[in-house]
Amino acid sequence: MTPIVLTVAWVAFLLGMAWYIAVLDGLWSAAREGRPPRAPLANPLYRCATMLRQQSNLTEAPDLLNWRLAPALYAGLAGTGVALVPFSGASVLADLEVGIVWWGAVEALTVVVVFLHGWSANSQLGLIGAYRYVAIGLPVMLISMFVLIAAALPAESLAVPKIIESQRELWNVIRQPLGLPLFLLLGLSLSFRGPFNYADSADIAGGTAAEVSGAPRLVWEFARLAMLTAVATVAASVFLGGYLGPWLPGPVWLVLKTAAVLLALVGLSHQLARISPSRMMTLIWTVLLPLSFVHLVWAGVLAL
């Protein structure tokens, strides 16, 4: 594929998957509430139009530059995450030898960008959301790094295409069974959804997004969906063999696997209750992080 075709595919993938998640959210909520869904396919578009029609408000003395930049940076980070993943053996937008390291940078910078979004509005509830996000986001990032290094061991490479190729015989989800579940937690944390929604939850009136309205809010909400897409795409590639699969073309396999991972992520975000931030921190540091380390040792022994 030419770079232009790849770029168009990349944009279409991000937009299409964001719409897909929004539709899934609507359907899942309606099913759980036991009522028929309201215009399930078009509702996300209506909501986008509502946000675009609203004024972009200002708060009292915000750090305007950072406040406006944060949503765009967040969306940009999600976009670079998706760019690392090949649609097929020969088509990848960013063919990096150190793709996994790049993804680690995406995770780390997400913590910075979300904090910036909450902090720069100059409001208390946004700041609480920002504090909480940093407290939870940092340790979750460590888990994800252990898990990804484990996935890179059989491939003996940090490049995403090589990790996919190393799964021709056996997918990593079978070889390293703890990897995918732990990585899905990262997905919920990076886009702050459901049990990991500490940044933008309703108990702090929308948290880091409590003060933002209009187009900047639309970008922010899109970026959350795009980041979830990025996580699902990386998960589909690193644990489920990405574009590998019989009969269908590679890109179709990638889309199908990403859609399946997103379904699991949306389900988890609707089905699980959220515990208080301090208890979640204890759970991460004392249970999940040691578990991810055991997982890494296991993968290392297997790779020897």
Binding site: E33, L65, N197, D203
Partner: protein, 416 residues
């Protein structure tokens, strides 16, 4: 094009909950055409539901001015809105969804003019930041701007001793998942509450919940009505906690059940309880969170007292309930978990009583336990003593684990 699409979206609504309108608002929220927002910044219409106190007016104006343009206010069952446009109010007994949709469509198309600021749009004092982006400057530490209380010097955190700036802010009376009407002045360090003071008390228990109990004073009343009111009250309390632990869909299910109980439909609570348990509702409430001592539990009475293990319930002495072999359910731990379990148990028991004796009548003037804490004088224990040391999310869980009567008794500042 944009306008046409936007007009089809669910109406983004921020609810300022006044007195007595809560059950009607709960019905409204079940409409898929309404999208209740957690912050006024995301809403296009401000719904003022029921009466607000004079002292709440300034808070209401501030909320109003935070709505982005185009915006409008809709008054529902509130005499204060009598002088406004017909399109912007509904009587308390109307179903306002159609009016709200029409108002929203006109707002989006420009047919209804956006409302201007109610308060002057100017900072209360000049900004004194000196940096390129308005940062820094004298008296600007901790991000607390000019014209407000200066932050105190960094003090040791009560959780881990780490020195942090503290900041003080007022919360309420229209914050979502917050007891309606309550205003607290809270001092934070990070997201941990250092101290809290009551500025305004919460609204007392809602009239609609009291109807059968008040009626009993004057006439013979059906046991089914009394017990249905109890189940509905408890389901609404449960719904608030479900929202707070990040289960908004189950919360809506609980509210729908409450509305159906009030409409005399036969419902089962067990599926909701099972779904909530499977989602980890109990795990989301830390054991021991919000535990109150025995003396306070006894003084509060009602479900809070029974959640502490005291089988005290006025129904035990009533001949009709005795005939039905009524024994009060209790818990032991007296914390948020116990109070939640108590609401579930009592709601299930209430519906079991209804199905056991659908036609039973309770004689006029009989003593029957209300669904909430006793309406006795204030207790000498303050709500504000329960909150320091808690994270914000825990504090909200603790507040919402009490019914409004219990909160009124623990936050006893007379409304002006």
């Amino acid at each position: 094009m944009l306008e046409r699409l936007a007009a089809r979206a669910p109406v983004p609504l921020f609810v300022a909950m006044g007195r007595d309108r809560a059950p009607a608002v709960e019905r409204l929220l079940q409409s898929a055409d309404i999208d209740v927002t957690a912050t006024p910044r995301h809403a296009s219409i401000l719904l003022v539901a029921g009466r607000v106190r004079d002292s709440d007016q300034a808070y209401l104006d501030r909320i109003h001015d935070q709505l982005p343009h185009p915006r409008a206010t809709f008054w529902w069952g509130d005499e204060q809105g009598d002088d406004v446009d017909e399109a912007q109010r509904a009587a308390s007994f109307d179903d306002p969804v159609i009016s709200l949709r029409a108002l929203y469509r006109n707002l989006i198309s420009g047919a209804h003019a956006s409302e201007t600021h109610r308060l002057p749009d100017e900072p209360p004092a000049p900004w004194r930041g000196k940096g390129d982006h308005g940062q820094g400057g004298e008296g600007m530490m901790g991000g607390v701007p000019y014209g407000r209380m200066m932050p105190m010097p960094p003090t040791p955190d009560i959780r881990d001793g780490l020195a942090l700036d503290v900041y003080t802010t007022q919360i309420g009376p229209f914050m979502p998942y917050w007891p309606a009407g309550l205003v607290l002045e809270v001092t934070f360090q990070g997201d941990v509450i250092q101290s809290a003071e009551v500025v305004q008390p919460p609204y007392p228990p809602r009239d609609v919940d009291r109807v059968p109990f008040d009626r009993l004073l004057h006439e013979t009343t059906a046991l089914a009505q009394i017990e249905r009111a109890r189940a509905a009250h408890h389901l609404v309390c449960i719904a608030r906690l479900l929202s707070l632990v990040g289960l908004p869909t189950l919360s809506r299910r609980a509210q729908i059940l409450a509305a159906r109980v009030r409409a005399n439909e036969t419902i089962a609570i067990a599926p909701l309880r099972k779904a909530a348990a499977r989602s980890g509702l109990t795990a989301a409430l830390a054991p021991g969170l919000g535990r109150i001592d025995d003396r306070l539990a006894r003084e509060l009475g009602g479900p809070a007292q029974r959640a502490a293990g005291h089988a005290i319930d006025d129904r035990s002495d009533n001949p009709m309930y005795k005939r039905l072999d009524f024994t009060p359910v209790t818990q032991t731990q007296s914390d948020c978990r116990a109070r939640l379990a108590q609401w579930f148990d009592e709601a299930e028991q209430a519906l079991a009583l209804v199905s056991a004796a659908p036609d039973a009548m309770i004689g006029q003037g009989a003593l029957v336990e209300a669904p909430w804490a006793l309406r006795a004088p204030p207790v000498d224990y303050r709500l504000t003593e329960l909150l320091p040391g808690l994270e914000w999310s825990e504090a909200l869980l603790v507040l919402n684990s009490f019914d409004s009567a219990a909160l009124c008794r623990m936050a006893p500042l007379e409304a002006p």
